[in-house]
Each structure stands twice: as structure tokens, then as C-alpha cells.
């Protein structure tokens, strides 16, 4: 009777004991019990990750950054430097244009303005150029006279040694041809290429074009002055020399280019006054 009663009372416990005995060897049972706990913990971590691990993550990042400081600077420095340089050049250009505009207004508006202009005898453009002459202005670095289409170099002048001049002329022509064909804008021609603070200005003539590599920023007035000067050069100096097209024409064109564009006394762009040609 007592045994019967004990069996009845402990039946539930025995079943539980048996289930617990089987637990270590039964993955399905483990999974049933543990998975909800893991899921719950994962959900908690997902929601509270920044709070729980912020300090640890910050420490790891700090250590990593400290350890790779040189590599990081190597990556960032050139881009940053270039951005700053470009920004400064842009600001100088804006300043220059606004200064020119302001001086023009001051000296040309009203009776008082005209009187000031008459007394000083200095034109606004000259004055702004004089104020900005100490600043980093545009400098003609290289000039190429290139045959249209074929890309054959007819003559060039450069301030410094450069890579193969024939190659520059050909590649520039290839780029020009590509752009003019790709965008199919009728008879429109590529008039310039710009990268960073360096520009290649292109002045198109019928059988040839002149490409001028200029460093530094320049205003639209300076662009026009250069354009006029190139047209004048084409009219007076190139006309004769291009007709010859023999071994000496390249040399003659170079001399003319150097005289016209690299001679400080013939400065077209204000930055030219501070530079001397090396050739």
C-alpha cells in the first residue's frame, strides 16, 4: 500500500528526472530549452549594443587608429592637401574678380569716382593686378602648336623638361577627337581641359590648334587676354613659319613662342612676371 502510494506521488518527479537524465545526450531537447534564451539575449544585444559595448568598441577603434596613423595620413594627406589648394585657388579667383569689380565701380561710378580716377591715373584692372601680383597667379607652363586631326606637333615651348612632346600632342588630339565625337555637338570644339589647379586651354584654328598648359587660377579677363594674344601670335608669327613645314620650322616656332609667352617683358598673365623661363 505504501509502495503504491509512493509510486503515485513520485511519478511526476520520476518522469522529470528521466527527462533531465536524457538531456545531455539529446540536442533537440537542448535546443528547445536554450534557443529561446539565446534569441532573447541576441535581441537584447541588438537593441543595446551601443550601450553595452560602446567603450570597448571605442577602445578598439582608438587602438587601431593609433597603430595605423601613418597609413591613414598617407591616404588622406594628398587628397586633403589637393582639396585645400583647390579651395584656396578658387577663393583667390573669386577675390580677384570681386576686387576688379569693386575697383571698377569705385573709379567709374559718379562724379566723385571719375574724379578719383582722373587724379590717380590708374585703371581699376591695373590696380587689382598690382594688388594681387604678389599672390599665386596663373603661369604659362607649356605651349604646343599641334596640327588638327593628325596630332602632329608643329612646335612647342616649355618651362621645364617634360615627357615626349610628340606623345603629348598626339594624346591631346586623341582626347580632343574623342570628346568632340562622343558628344556630337556639331562644329563645336574642345576649348580646354582642367584638372585640379592646372588647365590646358585650347585655341582652335583651321589647320592647327594651340594648347596652353597653365598652372594657377585665372579670371575670365585673363582667359580673354590669352586668347587674343594667341590669335595675334597665330596671325603674325605662325603664318610664315607654318608655311615652311621643314626641319627648321619647329625650332623657329619654339623661339617665337618663348619670346612671346615666356618673356617677362611680354607678360600676358600677371603671374608671369615672377617666373623666368628655363629654356
Amino acid at each position: 500500500m505504501m509502495n503504491k502510494l509512493r509510486e503515485l506521488l513520485l511519478a511526476g518527479n520520476r518522469q522529470e528526472l528521466e527527462r533531465l537524465r536524457r538531456l545531455p545526450g539529446d540536442p533537440a531537447l537542448w535546443s528547445e530549452k536554450v534557443t529561446p534564451l539565446i534569441d532573447e539575449r541576441l535581441e537584447f544585444l541588438k537593441n543595446n549594443f551601443p550601450v553595452e559595448f560602446r567603450i570597448s568598441v571605442e577602445n578598439i577603434i582608438e587602438q587601431k587608429l593609433e597603430a595605423s596613423r601613418d597609413e591613414l595620413l598617407d591616404i588622406i594627406y594628398p587628397t586633403l592637401g589637393q582639396m585645400i589648394k583647390k579651395y584656396i585657388q578658387h577663393q583667390i579667383q573669386l577675390l580677384k574678380e570681386s576686387l576688379e569689380e569693386q575697383l571698377r565701380n569705385t573709379f567709374q561710378c559718379g562724379i566723385a569716382g571719375r574724379l578719383r580716377y582722373a587724379l590717380s591715373g590708374v585703371k581699376p584692372k591695373e590696380m587689382s593686378d598690382s594688388i594681387l601680383s604678389k599672390m599665386d597667379g596663373p603661369v604659362i607652363e607649356e605651349i604646343f602648336v599641334i596640327e588638327q586631326h593628325s596630332g602632329i606637333l608643329l612646335g612647342s615651348a616649355s618651362r621645364h623638361d617634360t615627357i615626349d612632346l610628340d606623345m603629348i600632342a598626339s594624346m591631346l588630339t586623341a582626347i580632343k577627337s574623342f570628346v568632340e565625337d562622343a558628344f556630337q555637338r556639331g562644329d563645336e570644339k574642345l576649348e580646354g581641359v582642367q584638372y585640379g589647379t592646372f588647365s590646358i586651354l585650347i585655341e582652335n584654328f583651321y589647320t592647327y590648334y594651340i594648347a596652353v598648359a597653365v598652372s594657377g587660377s585665372f579670371s575670365s579677363n585673363e582667359r580673354m587676354a590669352l586668347s587674343d594674344s594667341l590669335a595675334q601670335f597665330a596671325q603674325t608669327d605662325l603664318k610664315v613659319n607654318l608655311k615652311k613645314r621643314d626641319g627648321t620650322s619647329n625650332y623657329l616656332i619654339r623661339q617665337k613662342l618663348e619670346h612671346r609667352f615666356f618673356n617677362p617683358q611680354m607678360a600676358i598673365l600677371h603671374g608671369e612676371q615672377n617666373k623666368n623661363p628655363t629654356q
Binding site: H149, S150, I152, D164, M167, S170, A174, S177, F178, G247
Partner: protein, 164 residues
């Protein structure tokens, strides 16, 4: 020194860039990298004591030459029209292509070049000769270098003769 523009053209995959690299740098790669736009390089050759600067324009291949931007051809003194000896589809438009180039560049020197000669057997060569619309000026192999130098030398001689 006299400079001349020479254009390498033809269908894609015929080996224009391989000829270009073999002539300029004496190297060949099995890898096929399609040319985008145009690639220009220069080599100075000497013919009978006269120096000639060859500016070679390697332009992206097109099935038909009318699809190539015209400005790439303009100003060229010589055209090297390349086809693949192993692929009849590369000489399918040869006649119309050459007609087009002659119309576009009057009097220009055109060389028709059958490339990949290292891959063809004598029987295939016979088959090619029977099917190709215009007979090639020269057969080359950019891989082995066969006739590559000879091709450019013959063009150089012809161009110098025109100039003398």
C-alpha cells in the same frame, strides 16, 4: 625629323593592340583586353638613313569602319587594316570598309594585314585566300613577331618616299 600618323584599325579581337605592342615594345600577351577609345604611342624608325617618327593610333575595334569616330582617321598618312586569318567574320566587311576609308582619306596608304598567321595551317590559308574579298598585303603574327617589323618598315619606306 618627319612625323606621320598611322592608324591601326579592323574588327575587334583581330590583334591590333598585339601588333601595336609587338612593334613598339617587342612583347606579346595572351590576355585579351579590349581597347577603349584610342591609344597612341610613338616609335622612330630609320629607313635608308632617314629617320621617321611614327605616331601609331591603336583604335578600338568595330565590326564596320563607319562606326569608328571619323576624327580618329583624319590626318592619317597610313592605315593598317587588320583582319584575323582564323575568323571569316573579320573580313566580311573588308570591301566596304576599304571603300569607305578611300573615300574618307583620299590617296592614303592602306595596308591590309592578315594577322594570327601562327594559328593557321596551309589548308586554312588556302581557304582564307579563296574567301577574302581583297588580298592582304602581308600576313603577320603578333605572337611570334613574324613580319611585324617588316610591315612597319614597308609603311615607313613608302611614307618617306612620298615626302622626298
Amino acid at each position: 625629323m618627319i612625323s606621320k600618323k598611322i592608324v591601326l584599325t579592323g574588327c575587334f579581337g583581330v590583334g591590333k593592340t598585339s601588333l601595336f605592342n609587338q612593334f613598339l615594345f617587342q612583347r606579346f600577351s595572351e590576355k585579351y583586353l579590349t581597347t577603349i577609345g584610342v591609344k597612341v604611342d610613338k616609335k622612330v624608325i630609320e629607313v635608308n638613313g632617314h629617320k621617321l617618327s611614327m605616331l601609331v593610333w591603336d583604335i578600338a575595334g568595330e565590326v564596320e569602319q563607319e562606326k569608328v569616330p571619323q576624327s580618329y582617321y583624319l590626318g592619317a598618312s597610313a592605315i593598317i587594316y587588320v583582319f584575323d586569318l582564323t575568323r571569316p567574320s573579320t573580313w566580311l566587311h573588308m570591301h566596304s570598309d576599304i571603300d569607305y576609308l578611300n573615300r574618307l582619306l583620299k590617296g592614303v596608304l592602306i595596308n591590309i594585314v592578315g594577322n594570327k598567321s601562327d594559328l593557321v595551317s596551309p589548308e586554312q590559308l588556302e581557304y582564307m585566300k579563296a574567301g577574302v574579298p581583297l588580298s592582304p598585303n602581308i600576313l603577320t603574327s603578333a605572337k611570334t613577331g613574324e613580319n611585324v617589323e617588316a610591315l612597319f618598315q614597308s609603311i615607313g619606306s613608302a611614307l618617306l618616299l612620298q615626302n622626298l
